[in-house]
């Protein structure tokens, strides 16, 4: 393993790369205690947790109702019809998958870039990814109309002698999304193993201890194990980064395979990926703002983390804005009157309000993030992130609905409006997300504990090495004062 970055930090002053990533007087013990106790001491979960779980639970039940109705009556209960066959199911699918992408980017890409600040946010961002993908997966499966036949999407030897159509991006999507879901879960669980060991060792209740003991797979922190563990993490990060890019690129191919005006620009794959990250960072901030307040995690998720998330969000937002502009440009450049008319109708047609509202949400309001004060203001960050989430939903709405209602022949034009079942199902997946997320917060450490210990080591390394000579025999909870 590469140790060039870390070996120098043990004696010199605090590495500037890790400065400001942790606040307060922190030792290995305080970090382990604070983060593990959120899981082990159930009284840490106060009224906000119950309120959020309650909201999630109620909405989750709406999902159950919506899906039951759907199974009984079929997809006709949705607003989909000719010419809009995709409707909210595909809009929400793309929206949820996109939200997941920021979690993978934080856990994988920032690990490759050796960005230490990811350590405070990667665990719950990965959880966010998994739950978002679970929400996303529901839509295409039920949109098939016969979800009990969904396994037909996979290649298996069957009595019909048929195989899936390998030339269709819709099938690529099956492989991309299922690979993405399974690799995300794997990456998350591998990351949890040493933390489960910490919970096992700190638990007092026998049942809790045994449960985390089983989950930790007998982890004992041996140097030999850590070496392979870090190699495997790095490999997983290296594999996940192109994976996340491929998933949303393939989703953009789903659009481009349909010969529909407005779904063809070559900018689509990177623009879809940037949009995914944009929505994803917004969701990370939406989750981080209340979590750090309710669980008093301000020492670990510092203003610096929020600032950097906001900067990444702004950056991906600018790429998205560039995508909007180049879409307009390419439709006029194409010289194809149907493409040009589609773009005019997108802006000034029956859905023009949605288009300009999306420009306001994704293009205009987020420019506030240029102001440092806004990036350090939790309320503003939360507000802007919610606005971006709405904007990203509208973006998919505009892409799907305008193109489908305004294709080549005016005789096949139509108008789309959702039904109550579209809305209930959307609310239901939001409920599923909230419910699963707050259950996760209760049973698993939401911040990576061992990486935070490593951060303590890097931040206070010089304190420990100089204090160690005369403190042998005393407990390790040294005050974090410089010993010079």
């Amino acid at each position: 393993m590469d140790n060039t970055l870390h070996s120098s930090s043990s004696n010199g002053p605090v590495d500037p790369a890790v400065a400001g990533l942790m606040e307060g007087e922190q030792t290995f013990e305080t970090v382990s205690e604070r983060l593990a106790s959120i899981v082990l001491r159930q009284d840490k979960h106060k009224l906000p947790w119950w309120i959020m779980l309650g909201i999630g639970f109620v909405l989750y039940n709406l999902l159950g109702i919506a899906l039951t109705k759907l199974l009984l009556y079929g997809v006709g209960i949705w607003g989909i019809d000719e010419p809009v066959g995709w409707g909210w199911a595909i809009i929400n699918f793309v929206w949820w998958i996109g939200i997941g992408h920021a979690g993978t980017l934080i856990s994988a890409f920032l690990l490759l870039m050796r960005q230490n600040w990811r350590n405070s946010i990667n665990r719950f961002a990965e959880a966010m990814t998994i739950f978002a993908v679970l929400c996303a997966g529901i839509y295409p499966v039920f949109h098939t109309g016969r979800p009990w036949c969904a396994y037909w999407l996979f290649p298996y030897p069957n009595i019909l002698g048929m195989w899936p159509g390998w030339r269709s991006p819709l099938l690529w999507d099956v492989f991309a999304v299922s690979t993405y879901a399974s690799v995300s879960i794997l990456f998350w669980l591998i990351g949890l193993i040493p933390d489960f060991a910490t919970l096992r060792d700190r638990a007092e209740n026998v049942v809790v201890k045994k449960t985390y003991g089983i989950l930790s797979l007998g982890w004992r922190g041996a140097a030999e194990h850590w070496q392979r563990y870090e190699t495997a993490s790095l490999i997983l990060a290296g594999i996940s980064t192109p994976l996340v890019l491929s998933v949303h690129s393939i989703i953009s191919f789903d659009f481009s395979i349909g010969i529909v005006p407005g779904w063809h620009t070559a900018i689509s794959p990177p623009y879809f990926v940037a949009g995914a990250l944009y929505a994803g960072f917004a969701m990370v901030i939406i989750l981080a703002v209340p979590l750090r307040k309710w669980y008093h995690l301000e020492d670990y998720i510092t203003p610096k983390h929020m600032d950097w998330c906001a900067k990444l969000m702004l950056t991906s937002g600018l790429v998205v804005l560039y995508g909007y502009m180049s879409e307009c440009f390419f439709s006029y450049l194409s010289g194809n009157h149907i493409e040009i008319r589609m773009m005019e109708l997108r802006q000034f047609g029956p859905y023009g309000t949605a288009y300009w509202f999306l420009i306001l949400c994704n293009g205009v309001i987020p420019q506030l993030l240029w102001i440092p004060k806004v990036r350090y203001h939790n309320g503003m960050l939360f507000f802007i992130s919610v606005v971006i989430s709405i904007g990203m939903w509208l973006e998919r709405y505009v892409i799907v609905v305008v193109s489908l209602t305004r294709d080549f022949l005016p005789s096949s034009w139509g108008y789309f409006s959702p039904t109550i079942w579209d809305i209930l199902m959307y609310a239901g997946t939001i409920g599923q997300f909230i419910f699963l997320f707050f259950m996760f917060v209760r049973v698993m450490p939401m911040i990576n504990i061992f990486e935070m210990r490593e951060l303590v080591h890097k931040t206070h390394g010089h304190v420990h090495s100089s204090a160690e000579d005369h403190s042998a025999g005393t407990p390790v909870s040294l005050p974090a004062q410089p010993a010079e």
Binding site: E33, R202, G218, Q227, I235, I239, S240, H457
Partner: protein, 176 residues
Amino acid sequence: MSRIYGLVAEFDTAEALLRGAEAAREAGYRRVEAYSPFPVHGMAEVLEHDDPRLPWVVFIMGVIGCATGFGLESWTAVINYPFNIGGKPTFSWPNFIPVAYELTILFSAWTAGLAMLVLNGLPRYHHSIFNTPRFERASSDLFFLCIEARDAKYDSEETAQFLENLGAQLVSEVEK
């Protein structure tokens, strides 16, 4: 003798553990293992844990995944069930790339995760090192260095003295 797993020294910093491991290697001990609450960088080099197998296993499985995807697509589309879709050639290989790519990732990622566990001998129900006093803090704030009894140079008194001289807070003989 056979009832003893080894001698375990307890340290309170990662630096002390690293120095202890270095000293033990220099003193000629070979069956040495360090236990820490987070990866201590440089430890793998000191203890010569340089197992090169994991990346290779992952690479090979990635190639197998790619071949599986591409082979399955080609065989089904060309040989097993050739089907004319839009006049495209049956062997339209550029269309086969995405699935082959995803299967490469699927195979190599799961191999990375599972091979890490298998090579580490995990999951494992119990290990003698857990008999060490205060070892439950090895996952929070204490660092342990173990010289195993099967080391050729192991001697319960000399080795214990050696570990104490390293500045260990506590040296204990651990049973199997």
